[in-house]
Amino acid sequence: MKNERLNTLTNGIVKSNPTFRLVLGTCPTLAVTTQAINGLAMGAAVTFVLLCSNVMISLLKKVIPDRVRIPAFVVIIATFVTVVQMVMKKFLPSLYDALGVFLPLIVVNCIILARAEAFASCNPVLDSALDGLGMGFGFTLSLTFIGIVRELLGAGSFFGLPIGSLGNVSMTIFVLPAGGFLVYGTLMALVNYLTALAENRKYDSSKKKGKKEAKA
């Protein structure tokens, strides 16, 4: 049981990473990752909404009539997105401005709606919370990583801090939409290659273990 819960939590970070493995939420991924801090803030906002909406939907799954479950989910998700917007506007106005229209668009983020429909609406509260956290962390890590690479190559800085004279040789294309696609595609290929490599090694070692046991 404990292992299952750990799997639920880590599933979204590596195996079913929403950005690199499931290729969900591509629009905000490409749009806001011109700077690492924007990616981190977007990821944090999505994690909060995922966690809260998953918990709420799991709690109300027996109360919400099946026919109107999608509108009910959207109302719940929109509520938490508006909460994030209000808090960000008050306390982090510069990030609120930087994320722009992609902040309210979290309401229709396919990761959140997919987890609500596929997981939270048919699982217990604790599992739904862990799933939301895992998926949120996975999304945050991916966006921050893409943001770091794009900012470093495109503006020569790291989280807004200029790195030596790197800014003089930076390649502007990486902070433009085309560079977003290039970085996203390259990182996706790298992550998938490494995941496949790890899975193959795991399979080989279990195969060897099986043969040894059979001999014994």
Binding site: I64, P65, K89
Partner: protein, 199 residues
């Protein structure tokens, strides 16, 4: 059968109403603690260009009437709370930016621009953002604003005349919007302070 269908519809509507009601109450509560007073926010941000307490400029009748042109507009004007200072912090919007428009805070003291800062501007990092740095804003400083001054002219070469400002290479849209915003602030100062025209 009809009764059960009616009951089902009623219950469905009731559940949705309850969810929407709870959502509304939660948002009301959060709004109570996070509501942002726009005037207070501008006055707080304006401290980036003026070291001291500011308040919204009222002036004589008509002086705060909105000024809007195709290239830029003035959104608001703030003055020091302490009287007797010839300081105007103007919130100006310039059109033509990469993302439509950008807002600047322009401090005009004793007839000269002494400080400019970005108020709401999200130009592309490493590209358009170069036109929003202090080093670029300095090109507009210290030009005397007289009734005859016709505004800053953006040029795509090194500036030769005092009223010329050279655009940032690769960020001509952002440079244009910055110049438009500064010129809107300059025009407001000329029309409402130097000439006192209530137009």
């Amino acid at each position: 059968m009809r009764k059960s269908l009616g009951y089902e519809i009623l219950m469905t509507a009731l559940v949705l109403v309850i969810i929407a009601g709870i959502a509304g109450a939660l948002l009301g509560l959060v709004n109570h603690f996070t509501a942002v007073d726009e005037d207070e926010l501008i006055a707080r941000k304006a401290t980036a260009v003026y070291d001291g307490a500011l308040e919204k400029f009222i002036g004589e009748e008509g002086m705060t009437a909105p000024m809007k042109e195709d290239s830029g507009e003035v959104l608001g004007v703030y003055v020091p709370k302490a009287e007797g200072k010839d300081v105007y912090v103007i919130v100006a919007r310039g059109f033509g930016a990469y993302k439509g428009s950008l807002d600047l805070l322009v401090n005009i003291t004793n007839g000269k621009i002494v400080k400019i800062a970005a108020y709401e501007a999200n130009e592309t990092p490493g590209l358009g953002s170069k036109a929003l740095q202090e080093g670029y804003f300095e090109r507009y400083y210290d030009q005397p604003i007289t009734p005859q001054f016709k505004g800053f002219a953006l040029v795509k070469r090194p500036a030769e005349m005092p009223d010329e400002v050279s655009a940032v290479t690769g960020a001509s849209k952002s440079s244009t919007a910055v110049t438009n915003a500064v010129n809107a602030a300059v025009k407001w100062y000329q029309m409402r302070v130097l000439k006192g025209v209530n137009a």
